[in-house]
């Protein structure tokens, strides 16, 4: 049995997610017949990053008939509300879904996707617009960033569980946090390398310059991650990517990369965009 417990705050930050992803690896490596228990009862905060990762794990366990138990905390109330609005309570506790139409709600339920549709980012935009006026360029960048990452999942990952999308808006900070997780082939395995270039170098070029692509579908031009990075840079955002044995964090136009051990068998892209903060290049 793989029993994994977390405590404290699992913030939507690279440091917190590094801890969470690393702790979750044994659950993602569990084989058929092995029971998996994720104990979050001592956790006081988590958001879309944890949500998307848990749903991806649930889909893997379901497909492999691995018994999975996720134990959620009974408090604090804000976290309980998030568990309800995100759809996690319905998925893991069997409780009725909480309507996301509640006026104070800042969460959209998680979505599982196989193919990317143009409407896919509408829900988070509509939710934000219930709280604040969304500028045209922010609207454009948010939708584009979400769709670019989703399209990468569809085109390159070969994820057996599809992709999982979760997002949450924070009205006080005017910030939107997005998580997209798949359990397919990681970026370092698919990105083409020049000569004997290490994977990290190729991923760096992908994010900062674009034009690096395995052209899996015949219509790829290596622009997806470039645009994610560009939008994040313009909107004072932050991007954290965990893929295979590579971690990339983009913040203040600075890209930091490091090897991670054990590797995450898939790709988790977590990003934050500050609405109304866009800066011209």
């Amino acid at each position: 049995m793989a029993e994994i417990a977390f405590e404290g705050n699992l913030n939507d930050t690279p440091a917190s997610m590094r801890r969470f992803i690393k702790g979750m690896v044994p659950a993602f490596e569990a084989g058929a017949g092995e029971e998996v228990v994720i104990d979050l009862r001592a956790v006081r905060y988590f958001g879309p990053d944890v949500c998307a990762t848990l749903v991806a794990l649930q889909r893997r366990c379901q497909s492999l008939r691995i018994p999975l138990q996720v134990r959620f905390p009974s408090s604090p109330p804000k976290l309980r509300a998030y568990i309800g609005f995100s759809g996690l309570a319905s998925l893991f506790e069997g409780t009725p879904s909480t309507s996301p139409e509640h006026p104070e709600n800042e969460t959209i339920p998680y979505e599982v996707f196989e193919r990317v549709r143009i409407q896919q980012a509408d829900a988070i935009v509509q939710l934000i617009e219930r709280h604040q006026v969304l500028r045209s360029d922010d609207d454009d960048a948010l939708r584009s960033a979400i769709r670019e990452v989703m399209q990468n999942v569809e085109d390159h990952s070969k994820s057996p569980v599809g992709g999982v999308f979760a997002a949450r808006y924070f009205s006080a900070q005017r910030e939107v946090r997005v998580a997209i997780v798949d359990l397919g082939v990681g970026i370092p395995s698919t990105v083409p390398r020049a000569g004997g270039e290490p994977a990290a170098g190729a991923v760096r070029r992908t994010l900062l310059q674009g034009g690096v692509t395995s052209n899996t579908t015949g219509r790829n031009a290596g622009q997806g991650l470039y645009w994610l990075a560009a939008h994040a840079n313009r909107m004072r955002g932050e991007v954290a990517i965990f893929s295979d044995d590579l971690e990339c964090v983009l913040r203040n136009k600075q890209l930091d990369m490091r090897a991670v051990d054990p590797p995450f068998h898939g790709t988790a892209v977590f990003f934050t965009l500050a609405l109304g903060s866009s800066v011209d290049e």
Partner: protein, 107 residues
């Protein structure tokens, strides 16, 4: 996208609301429409006004499909793109560059 693409005189207006296919399929279909229009017209205008967050995949798929029937030069000289905003135009320009199109869209 068959219901969302309306040819009025020489302008193809791409409307988001009626899209039902995947983004890639929608782009492919638009590329086919552009190629088809170019076979009967000297000039074609494509308006992306009203669309938000068009990802690079859409433009990529559009170009790949159009290039099956028309030359890069035809896209450069005979197609006029109208964009919703600068971000959208920048996404298009990077796609155009990636496919080495001698084309610059203008809003």
């Amino acid at each position: 996208m068959s219901n969302s693409t309306v040819s009025t005189s020489e302008t193809i207006v791409v409307q988001e609301v009626a899209w039902s296919d995947s983004i890639a399929d929608s782009g492919t279909r638009l590329g086919g429409i552009i190629a088809s229009e170019l076979s009967t017209r000297h000039q074609v205008a494509v308006s992306f006004r009203g669309l938000r967050g068009v990802p690079s995949t859409f433009f990529n798929a559009m170009v790949v499909r159009a290039l099956q029937d028309v030359t890069p030069e035809a896209i450069a000289t005979k197609v006029k793109f109208e964009f919703e905003n600068d971000v959208q135009e920048q996404v298009w320009l990077r796609t155009a560059r990636a496919y080495q199109l001698p084309v610059v869209g203008r809003r």
